[in-house]
C-alpha cells in the first residue's frame, strides 16, 4: 500500500505540468506520484515529431519530443516520483481516494491519496462511428495509429493513401507519408471547411499538391483482404452524398482523422459528472470535478489543439490541488456560487462555475465556438449587464478561445450568472 498527498493519472504534458504546479503550490515533491501506462513520460507528444510546439511557452518552435523533454527535465530536477508502465484500473472517491493500478514489476498497487488529478488525455474517435458500409479490410488506420507506426517504429503503413478528415493530425500525416515516399491521393472533408490550422493546409497539402476535397466523404471501400481503393462523393448541406458525384480512388491505405474524444472511463467509474458537450468532466474555478478533491486538466478535460494551453491549464490544476491538500477546512468554501454560461455560438466554457471565496484575482475562462464567425465580438454579461466586449476578426471551431475575468469586477454584485456570448461587432 502506498500513501500520497496527490496522485496524478497520466504522464503526458498535462500530468507533468500539473505535478510542477503542485510543487509550486507548496507540496513536497515526494508527496506526489505520477502514474503513466506507457514506457516513457510525454504522452502523445512522443509521436508528434513535427515542429510548431512551444511558441507560447518557450518562445521558440520545438518538436513534440523536444517539448516533452523540457518538462521531463524539470520533473527529474525536482525529483518528483513517477511510475512508468503502470496502468490505473480504477479510482474510488471519498475523503481519501483509493487508486488501483497495475504493473509488471509490482503487480496490483493500492494507492491512497488526498487528491487526484485526472490527466489521461484523449483518444481518436473510433472508425465504427464513421458509418462506412462494406468490409473491414486491412489498410484502414486512424491517423494517430499511422503516426505511431511511422514515427516510433519506422514502418510505413502503405504506399497509396487517401485520408478522410482534415483535422490537424490528418494534415500532418499527409505530409509525413508524402515525405516518406507514399503518394497521398486526396484528403476528403465532410464539412465545407477544414478544422485544421491554415498553416497546416499550406505546408502539409499545398506544398505537395495534395487535393483537399471539402464537402466530400468516403462512401465505399473496395477490397476484401486489403484496401484496393475508395469511392469518394460530394455531399450536400445536410452531409448526404450526392448521387452521380462518386469518384473512385485506387489506394492501399485509408487514414481516418475524425476528431478526438476525452478518455474518461476512469472518471465515469468514480462518478465524476461528464459534460455532454466536451465529453470531459464538468469543473469549477479550481478545475475540480463534481467530486471533491478530484481535479482534471489537459485533453481529458476538453480537447486542446495547442499543447502550450494544456501546460498552462495543468499548472493551474496542480496549484489548486496543492491548495486543496494543504487546506485544513473540510466544510467546503461557502460563499457565492456563480454559473458561467456559454450562449449564442459559445458551445461550452471551462470552468462552468466560479465560487467567489476561492476565486483568484483573475480567472481564465476557456471556450470554443460552434461555427465560423467573422467580424464579431465576444461579450461578457453579468446577468443582463454588459461587462466587457472583445472584438474578434475571426473565430473558428478549431481554435480555443479565452476571456479573463477580474475578481474586482464580480465582487459585491448580486448576480448568479456570467454569460459569455458572440455578438455582431
Amino acid at each position: 500500500m502506498i500513501r500520497k498527498s496527490l496522485v496524478i493519472i497520466g504522464g503526458g504534458p498535462a500530468g507533468m505540468a500539473a505535478a510542477l504546479g503542485a510543487v509550486k503550490g507548496g507540496l513536497a515533491p515526494q508527496e506526489i506520484l505520477i502514474l503513466e501506462r506507457d514506457k516513457r513520460l510525454g504522452g502523445i507528444l512522443n509521436q508528434c515529431i513535427h515542429n510548431g510546439f512551444g511558441l507560447h511557452t518557450f518562445k521558440e518552435e520545438l518538436t513534440g519530443p523536444e517539448y516533452a523533454a523540457r518538462y521531463e527535465a524539470q520533473i527529474e530536477e525536482k525529483q518528483i516520483p513517477y511510475k512508468l508502465e503502470t496502468m490505473v484500473m480504477s479510482i474510488r472517491e471519498g475523503e481519501e481516494k483509493e487508486i488501483i493500478a497495475m504493473n509488471g514489476r509490482e503487480g496490483i498497487l493500492e494507492i491512497y491519496a488526498k487528491a487526484v488529478i485526472l490527466a489521461m488525455g484523449c483518444r481518436e474517435r473510433p472508425r465504427g462511428a464513421l458509418n462506412i458500409p462494406g468490409y473491414r479490410p486491412a489498410g484502414i488506420y486512424s491517423a494517430g495509429t499511422a503516426q505511431y507506426y511511422v514515427n516510433m517504429e519506422g514502418k510505413l503503413p502503405g504506399k497509396e493513401v487517401v485520408i478522410l478528415g482534415s483535422g490537424d493530425i490528418g494534415l500532418i500525416m499527409a505530409r509525413r507519408m508524402t515525405l516518406e515516399g507514399a503518394k497521398v491521393k486526396a484528403v476528403a472533408e465532410l464539412m465545407p471547411y477544414s478544422g485544421g490550422l491554415k498553416r497546416n493546409i499550406v505546408q502539409c497539402l499545398q506544398d505537395f499538391d495534395i487535393p483537399l476535397l471539402l464537402s466530400h466523404t468516403v462512401v465505399d471501400i473496395k477490397g476484401k483482404e486489403r484496401v484496393e481503393g475508395v469511392t469518394i462523393a460530394q455531399v450536400d448541406e445536410k452531409s448526404v452524398p450526392i448521387p452521380g458525384t462518386e469518384e473512385f480512388y485506387p489506394c492501399d491505405t485509408l487514414l481516418l482523422s475524425c476528431g478526438l474524444i476525452p478518455e474518461n472511463e476512469l472518471s465515469l467509474g468514480c462518478g465524476v459528472e461528464i459534460s455532454p458537450v466536451t465529453g470531459g468532466p464538468v469543473v469549477n474555478e479550481c478545475l475540480e470535478t463534481s467530486k471533491s478533491g478530484i481535479f482534471a486538466c489537459g485533453n481529458v478535460l476538453h480537447v486542446h489543439d495547442l499543447v502550450d494551453y494544456v501546460s498552462g491549464e495543468a499548472l493551474e490544476a496542480g496549484e489548486r490541488a496543492a491548495e486543496y491538500v494543504l487546506s485544513e477546512e473540510d466544510s467546503g468554501p461557502g460563499g457565492q456560487e456563480l454559473t458561467v454560461c456559454g450562449e449564442n455560438g459559445v458551445r461550452y466554457t471551462v470552468p462552468s462555475t466560479i465560487n467567489m471565496n476561492r476565486m483568484k484575482e483573475t480567472q481564465t475562462i476557456r471556450f470554443r465556438v460552434g461555427r465560423e464567425f467573422q467580424g464579431v465580438k465576444v461579450s461578457v454579461y453579468l446577468e443582463d449587464t454588459l461587462l466587457r466586449s472583445i472584438p474578434k476578426k475571426t473565430m473558428a471551431p478549431g481554435e480555443m478561445e479565452k476571456v479573463i475575468l477580474l475578481k474586482k469586477d464580480l465582487e459585491g454584485k448580486e448576480i448568479q450568472r456570467i454569460r459569455i456570448t458572440i455578438e455582431e461587432a
Binding site: 515529431i49 515525405l179 491554415k198 493546409i201 475571426t394
Partner: protein, 122 residues
C-alpha cells in the same frame, strides 16, 4: 516579364488570399493581405520559400528502432526531398543525446540535422 502568384497567408486563422506581383523576379506589389505579417510572409514565400524538415533516422542498438530528427534551421523548400533522401540513407548508433548533430551539412544546404529526442542504449 510580369507574373502574378496567389498564396494563402499562414500568419493567423484569417488565412487572407494574397496576390503577389513580380516583375523580372522582383516583387512589385502585394495585395489581399490585411496586415503587415501577410506582406512579409508573401515576399519571403515567393522569393525564398523555406521549411524545417522533421523526420526519423534509423538507429542501431537503441530503446527505439528510430530517432526523431529535424533540420536545425529551415532549408529551401525545393530541397525537402533531397534532405529526406539523405536522412533516410543514414543509420546511427545509440546512445543519442537530444540536440546531437547527426548530419553536418545535409544535401549541401549548410544546415545540420539534429536529434530531437534522447535514445538510450537497449
Amino acid at each position: 516579364m510580369e507574373e502574378k502568384k496567389e498564396l494563402t497567408c499562414i500568419g493567423c486563422p484569417m488565412g487572407c488570399q494574397i496576390t503577389v506581383t513580380l516583375k523580372d523576379n522582383m516583387v512589385t506589389s502585394v495585395s489581399g493581405n490585411t496586415c503587415k505579417i501577410g506582406d512579409t510572409y508573401a515576399r519571403e514565400e515567393v522569393t525564398d520559400p523555406r521549411r524545417t524538415v522533421t523526420s526519423i533516422m534509423k538507429v542501431d542498438g537503441g530503446e527505439l528502432p528510430v530517432v526523431s530528427v529535424k533540420t536545425k534551421e529551415s532549408i529551401p523548400k525545393g530541397l525537402m526531398f533531397g534532405v529526406m533522401e539523405e536522412i533516410g540513407a543514414v543509420k546511427v548508433n545509440a546512445p543519442i543525446a537530444i540536440g546531437q548533430i547527426l548530419i553536418e551539412n545535409v544535401a549541401g544546404t549548410g544546415v545540420a540535422v539534429v536529434a530531437t529526442r534522447e535514445i538510450k542504449e537497449k
